[in-house]
Amino acid sequence: MNKARRRLIAGFAAGMLLVVGACSSETSEITIADSWARATPPGAESAAFYGVVTNLSGESDQLVGVSSPQCEMAQIHETTHSDGVAGMAPAGADLLSLNDGEKLTLEPGGLHVMCMGVSEPLVEGADVQVEFKFEKMGSVEFVLPVQAG
C-alpha cells in the first residue's frame, strides 16, 4: 500500500514535470518563423540573419538587443535605399517596438540581424544560435538553419 502510494506520487510528480516542461516550451511567447542565416562567402566577415519574429506575449514589448555566439557583435540593421544608393544603419527603436500580436519581419533588403565579426564561416546546412533580448520578456533563444542565398 505504502509502496503503491509512493509510486503514485512519483508518477504524479513526473507527470507534473512533463506538463510544466511542455508549457514552458509552448509559451515562450516570442516566436520566429521562416528563419535562416545566410551562408557566408569566403572572406566575408559579416553575415545576415532573417525571420519573422512575432510577439505573442499578451503585451507590447521592445526588442532591445540581439547577440549570437557566432558573432563578435550583432545588431538589428536596416538596409535603406535612396536613389539607388543602398546603405545600412542600426534600426531605430520605433521599428523594434512590438505590440501584442505584432510581427517584426527581418528579410533580405530590409531589416535583418547584422552579425559582425563572424567567428567562422557559416556553412550551408549548419545552425546558428541567436538570442533576442526583449525589455519585458527577457532573453529568447532561437536556432536558425544556415542556407545559401
Binding site: 572572406g43 559579416s46 545576415a48 544608393v85 533588403g109 535583418h112 552579425c115
Partner: protein, 211 residues
C-alpha cells in the same frame, strides 16, 4: 423533309463559324504575342551613348577590364558595384543574378558576363574579391584598382559610394549605389536594375537583351 433540308443548308455555317472564330482568336493572340514588346523589369536607358570603359581597373588575372572586349560575341555584361563586407544587399543581388543566369540557355549563359567592382579596395584585395564572387557563381569576374581608379570609374558610371566611419580593425559600412548595370553587346548601357530584382524577371530581361 423541309426541316432536314434547312439543317443541311445551315450545316456549313454551324461548323464554319465557330471554327473561324476559334482561328481568329488563336491567330490574333499569336500575332499579339509576337508583336508585343518586351516590358523590362529594369529601367531601360535610351540613347546610344557608349558605356564608360573600365580600362583602369584590373581583372584578378591582371588583364585590363575592357568592356569592349565582350562586344565580339554578342554578350551582355552585368556590372555590380559592392564590397565583400556587405552582408545583406550584395549577397541578395549576386545570388539573384546567379539564379537568373542559370535560368538562361547554355548559349545565353556563355554570353552573360557578370563583373563585380569593389568600392572598398582597402579591404577587398583581388584574391579575396574573386573568391567572394565565385562563391555565388564560378563564372563571375571581379575587378579592383586603387582608390583613385575606382573613384574615377564609379563616377563615370554614376555610382556613388561613401565609406562609413571606422578603421579596418573596427569594421565599417559602405553606402553604395547597388543597382545592377546591363551593358549590351554594342558596349552601350542598356538597362539598370534595382538591387532587389527578382531572378526570374532578370532572366526574362536578359533573354530579351540577348535576342
Amino acid at each position: 423533309m423541309k426541316s432536314s433540308g434547312d439543317s443541311k443548308r445551315w450545316l456549313p455555317y454551324l461548323i464554319g463559324v465557330p471554327v473561324a472564330i476559334v482561328l481568329a482568336v488563336v491567330g490574333s493572340q499569336a500575332i499579339v504575342s509576337v508583336l508585343r514588346p518586351h516590358i523590362y523589369s529594369g529601367t531601360v536607358i535610351r540613347g546610344d551613348t557608349p558605356a564608360p570603359t573600365m580600362e583602369d581597373l584590373q581583372f584578378v588575372s591582371g588583364d585590363a577590364v575592357d568592356l569592349g572586349s565582350f562586344d565580339d560575341s554578342d554578350a551582355v555584361v552585368l556590372v555590380f558595384f559592392g564590397y565583400t563586407n556587405c552582408p545583406d544587399i550584395c549577397p541578395t543581388t549576386l545570388s539573384a543574378v546567379s539564379k537568373a543566369r542559370n535560368q538562361l540557355s547554355e548559349q545565353d549563359q556563355e554570353r552573360t558576363q557578370v563583373l563585380m567592382v569593389s568600392v572598398d579596395p582597402e579591404r577587398d584585395k583581388p584574391d579575396r574579391l574573386q573568391e567572394y564572387v565565385e562563391f555565388f557563381d564560378p563564372s563571375f569576374l571581379s575587378a579592383g584598382g586603387s582608390e583613385d581608379q575606382i573613384a574615377r570609374v564609379a563616377s563615370l558610371y554614376g555610382v556613388h559610394y561613401e565609406l562609413g566611419e571606422g578603421t579596418v580593425e573596427e569594421g565599417y559600412l559602405v553606402d553604395h549605389t547597388a543597382t545592377l548595370l546591363g551593358i549590351g553587346s554594342d558596349g552601350v548601357l542598356r538597362v539598370v536594375w534595382p538591387p532587389d530584382i527578382d531572378a526570374a524577371a532578370l532572366a526574362d530581361d536578359l533573354e530579351e537583351l540577348l535576342s
